[in-house]
């Protein structure tokens, strides 16, 4: 159980880094983007292993990414989006989208509805997580930074 999880987390770290290159993020920030993506995915996996549903796990992962991104934005003096966009990528429901589509073309409407609503819920909880973290009061260094 531990080994495949570690492999997945390391893969999420590298996948996020290569994604950040696609977004033309500065070379100096790539490592931090990878950490953001890796953390989000590890929280997701741990929560899922402990019995959390996919939607709840996505929510917790997105909370962690949003929180870490705010911290990294201060630490690295960068706009928060740099870490938020890249870190969220592993949690974006690409798999749910595929499964919904697959159920639709195999005419399994019940499955399609299940996966479709799950995909929408995942997108929804990612949004809620971002809203919650960005609504937390600004710390002193953030206020100075102003943006």
């Amino acid at each position: 159980m531990i080994l495949p999880m570690a492999l997945q987390i390391i893969s999420a770290f590298f996948a996020t880094i290569f994604f950040s290159v696609m977004f033309n993020i500065s070379r100096k920030e790539l490592l931090y983007c990878g950490l953001s993506g890796g953390l989000g995915w590890s929280i997701y996996l741990i929560s899922n292993q402990l019995g959390g549903s996919i939607v709840v796990s996505t929510f917790l992962g997105a909370l962690a990414v949003s929180f870490l991104s705010r911290y990294l934005a201060i630490l690295r003096k960068q706009p928060v989006t740099i870490f938020l966009i890249s870190g969220t990528i592993p949690l974006v429901p690409g798999a749910g989208m595929y499964q919904t589509m697959y159920a639709l073309i195999t005419q399994d409407i019940e499955q399609a509805a299940t996966y479709g609503s799950q995909t929408l819920q995942m997108a929804g909880v990612i949004a809620i997580a971002m809203i919650i973290i960005s609504s937390l009061p600004k710390s002193a260094p953030e206020q100075r930074k102003a943006h």
Partner: protein, 258 residues
Amino acid sequence: MRHHKALFKFAIKAGEIMLRNGAETYRVEDTIERILRTQDLEIVESFVTPTGIFATMDEEDGETVTVVKRVRKRTIHLHKVALINHLSRQFVEGSLTLEEASQTLQEIESRKPYPPAIMIMSIGLAASFFTVVFGGSLRDFCSSLLIGIFLALLQQGFYNSRVSRFLVDLLGGSLIAVFALLFVNTGLGAQLDKIIIGSIMPLVPGVAITNAVRDTIEGDLVSGISRGVEAFFIAVSIAAGVGIVLKIWFAVNGGYIV
């Protein structure tokens, strides 16, 4: 008076480059207003949507100047956004003159993205690592690496064309499904679903989704909705592209291969 015009030009240019390269619209509005507020002006307004900038300020002689800037071609170059964010902050703090800031802005604008070879390899590696994230094996990793590279070549081929982004995503989805079926049936890949899911990730509208949420949080509802719609249509285009190919495959072979 002349000075104000130069300032106005600088603010619009900074906003335009940010918007073109994937910044949230509220950040663009905020940057334009902060730059203009360095002068003692009575009226300063900016209204930005994902496809255009509107800004207004008043001149000393009491006239009001308004600029509308339509932004058509958009790419994602977040480093430029970060640099302009930093530049505008320095300018507002007064540590740069307008001439120096305009000079730096030009340098930022002409910055090159990562070279195509690195970009293509990154898309391939992003696809293959995501295949492993979703439970793929080493064979699936190799399949997705190749598919990702083909996908990147397709995207580069269409980069300067006028073909709609949605059509390119549809074609991309189809290409992924065709090669995934090919690799699984020739024995290079093992799990069709893992390969496809990993390979569609580079097409997934991550920036549009994140910016839709962030714009909505900041009260830019028009931008939030339009980016949300953009993300939804991109997702539908990808799914349709993959779906069409799988549907044809099933129809021809009469069975399901997962």
